[in-house]
């Protein structure tokens, strides 16, 4: 069974590699990649740059408190095991999603935190997009601010990243568009009033002015899918994690900005 799946994966891998060469012409050259920050207006940039004006910091503050709060039947706080987050969590967000051996697939940062809540604290894991999970994720991710995005060099991730790449290039929804048609081929042009960014996940969770709140990368992906009038994948769905994995690889080297502000 395992071997059969291995062969299937290999076949899929070869097919995807062929596809990737076909599509790679459209990919943005590394030297031209830039964060969505570059597309922000002056006021929004100022809001992101000042930690006392950036509303995402309210969530980071909440996360800092939760980090020290004992929870679950183990009555342990994150800090009891991980100590000072500034040291233990530095660079972590820059290399997620990462492969989780017990699940046999990649998990993103929210899921990783959920695993610690469920398995290490013996607590109830937080719901996706709950204030609590966003706060912890923002607090953990901010410890990587300024660090270059560095997807792990882990061969086990390859098939999932390729699946994510395929989703990125697949035409979908009633508009029958692929993500690449906007984010590779038409970035810096306007879609009605909005500038199309290159779609690099540099600042998640972000404070989005339209949401009037902080939200995750998957919320952003679901927004774009709804925009294509496609059925978005559920929060935490493998397809969403695969897309995150591809997007992080595509953004490799760009600095983490969490908590970023976006229109």
């Amino acid at each position: 069974m395992k071997a059969a799946r291995g062969t299937q994966r290999l076949a899929l891998g070869v097919l995807l590699a062929a596809l990737a060469t076909l599509c790679s012409a459209a990919e943005i050259p590394l030297s031209e990649r830039r964060s969505g920050y570059a597309d922000l207006g002056r006021e929004t940039k100022a809001m992101q740059d000042d930690d006392t004006a950036n509303p995402g910091m309210l969530s980071v503050l909440e996360g800092e408190e939760l980090w020290k709060t004992k929870s679950g039947t183990e009555v342990k706080a994150c800090a009891d095991c991980h100590g000072d987050a500034r040291a233990s969590m530095k660079g972590v967000a820059a290399r997620y999603p990462a492969f989780d051996a017990s699940r046999g697939r990649p998990v993103n940062l929210e899921q990783r935190i959920n695993i610690c809540q469920a398995e290490r604290q013996q607590a109830k894991p937080s719901a996706y997009e709950s204030k609590e999970l966003l706060a912890l994720t923002a607090f953990v991710a901010m410890q990587s601010r300024g660090e270059p995005i560095a997807p792990p060099d882990d061969a086990r991730l390859t098939p999932f990243r390729e699946a994510g790449r395929q989703l990125f290039f697949r035409r979908q929804g009633q508009l029958n568009l692929g993500c690449n048609q906007c984010h590779d081929d038409n970035w810096s042009k306007r879609l009605a009033g909005n500038l199309i960014p290159q779609a690099h996940p540099t600042g998640y969770p972000i404070y989005r002015l339209e949401w009037q709140s902080i939200g995750s990368l998957q919320r952003r992906l679901r927004n774009c899918m709804t925009g294509l009038r496609a059925q978005p994948y559920e929060f935490g769905a493998p397809e969403n994690v695969d897309m995150e994995l591809y997007l992080m690889w595509r953004a490799r080297g760009l600095p983490v900005e969490t908590p970023a502000v976006r229109p």
Binding site: D51, A53, P55
Partner: protein
């Protein structure tokens, strides 16, 4: 309790104009929205912000519906003496929060 971020310079020269920045977490629900079932979501906003400097009121703002969530208010004052700035936000559903910041004036 809602979270707030306050930025007041720790030190200033007497007579110097200083910038004060405040940010507070609050939903600022307008009272004009309805749920998908057509039920009106009650208004829940901060309607008053007051700043005092050693007890004396130096800044006041009245807020209304349609001010964005997590209001950011920034203003200026003249650093006159060392002491405490007190910030109070209040509004619907008996919302009230007070924060303080100290300043040394030389």
């Amino acid at each position: 309790m809602a979270r707030a971020l306050i930025n007041v310079p720790a030190k200033a020269k007497r007579g110097e104009v200083i910038t004060i920045k405040t940010l507070i977490s609050h939903v600022m629900e307008t009272g004009f929205r309805h749920t998908t079932m057509g039920v009106r979501i009650p208004r829940d906003i901060i309607d008053t912000f007051v700043c005092t400097y050693n007890g004396e009121e130096i800044f006041r703002a009245t807020l209304h519906s349609a001010i964005a969530a997590n209001p950011f208010i920034t203003f200026h004052t003249v650093a006159t003496e060392s002491g405490t700035l007190t910030f109070t936000w209040s509004g619907d559903s008996q919302f009230s929060q007070t924060e303080t910041a100290n300043i040394v004036v030389e």
